[in-house]
Symmetry: C2
């Protein structure tokens, strides 16, 4: 594939469901010329309660689907996948690959003043200790308090994302209670679904705690990886977007529209990812 | 296999997760001499948002696991599986098989006086129209109002099952609102998870609406199928129980204990069902 071709190829983004749209939105904002393909594995969500082996199998199929779409880069916009793939996962792929853990941790370490970072994520992410490990690699003295919030992904996937949704607020109050009265001054949203309910999280925590969003923080490294390969799209062309999900297409487009602020119905196809 | 052997074989019960314990508890109560093996597919729950094809694949693996345990009968204590397997599914199996749809519908038709039955279930069950179809087969004039309650299974699986749980009550209020002001006088819990939160459902609906529980209503036919084959366990023997799940063993045993009123920790193993 020539570099000219590469610049015209789309970026591939995947997640267990709707969460990766938080990275998608940030990519769209900062890389306005790029074609982007999004895959949400709505048929197998949630990933965060699965075994590590299952998560890796799913991730491989998700990546293979995107490679079949001739993407020039793959972004695992999923905290659970990012936290559970081996560190050399990228080496096995023909295009650059990034997850969301490292950039998120780096951003959080820069943000904290008390040196005490909170992490909320899925059970599989918390179990992996990937965020803690990376934080301690770059800043050994930083303290970390990590909590899993199992019901947040089902809440997002089922559309409980309005900022004043009373169910989501009540669940957030229960999960976040261990942070009250601590000196945690920076909170990592270690699952890309969580920014969809960040307003509920913020209002429960008190507005003074900065949230570090896993989806958004990976965009810088995407830009670097593409620039290094001279693979960035040229300005002035007509960009495209395509969305794929593996089940419940109508639910997917409905919640996505609420989050993205526009309809993606005509751009969305349902696929069978287990064939990849 | 001789009949003598059959009577000593266990009954196999499976569900996508914890829901089938509602059938298990009823089986234990009414068939106190039987050995029972329970499998909850906690690694792949929820089934109710999956495609029909995926549900059938999962169901076949679940059944194969139980057959490997030498069960004398298989009970799909899962509304989603029961509603989505083909009518001739039982014919392909070497032991009797029952789901939960038919007995539940028969019980609801007997219960209603207004002739208007409500059904709540997972999206895949509602989409299948299996409950409606069977109700109309035995009582063509009965009216049916069917609603899916997608978040109920995640709530149960994540332990939001206390009778006064404010999250579960709030969610129930939202889902059940379409029943207010109707003449629905009987409600089918079309998912075996739902009896675990029946108190929240009842208190939102008003206590006067009888709930027909999918798990409990299949026990009569289990008794018939076993008696017909002279395969009922003999009284006076020491019965056994075994529990299997496919992920999150600690969560499974914790919520199961709360529901069953006793610890099953020492009796529970985690297995890889995708190998079946």
């Amino acid at each position: 594939m020539t570099e000219m071709n590469l610049s015209r190829c789309p970026i591939g983004v995947f997640d267990s469901g709707l969460g990766g749209l938080t990275a998608f939105r940030e990519l769209r904002r900062l890389l306005p010329n790029e074609d982007i393909i999004y895959f949400g594995d709505t048929g197998r969500v949630p990933y965060g309660t699965k075994s590590r082996e299952t998560i890796l199998n799913y991730a491989k199929q998700d990546v293979d689907f995107l490679l079949g779409q001739k993407v020039k880069m793959v972004i695992a916009a999923c905290g659970t996948v990012s936290a559970n793939v081996p560190e050399d996962f990228a080496d096995s792929l023909p295009v650059p690959f990034t997850g969301v853990v490292q950039h998120t941790c780096a951003a959080a370490v820069k943000t904290t003043k008390t040196g005490h970072i909170g992490i909320i994520a899925t059970p599989a992410t918390i179990r992996s200790k990937a965020y803690e490990t990376y934080i301690h690699r770059i800043s050994p003295e930083t303290r970390v308090t990590a909590l899993h919030c199992s019901l947040f992904v089902p809440l997002v996937e089922n559309g409980f994302i309005q900022s004043d949704n009373p169910v989501t607020r009540l669940v957030a109050e229960q999960y976040l209670a261990p942070f009250f009265g601590t000196d945690v001054d920076t909170l990592i949203l270690g699952c890309t679904h969580y920014p969809l309910i960040s307003e509920a999280v913020l209002s429960v925590l008190g507005r003074e705690v900065p949230l570090v969003d896993s989806g958004g923080s990976c965009v810088g490294s995407v830009l670097d990886a593409l620039a290094e390969r001279d693979a960035l799209a040229q300005p002035g062309r007509i960009r495209t977007e395509a969305y794929f999900c593996s089940a419940r297409r109508a639910d997917f487009t409905r919640v996505a529209q609420r989050f993205l602020g526009r309809s993606i119905d005509a751009l969305t196809k349902e696929i069978d990812v287990e064939g990849y």
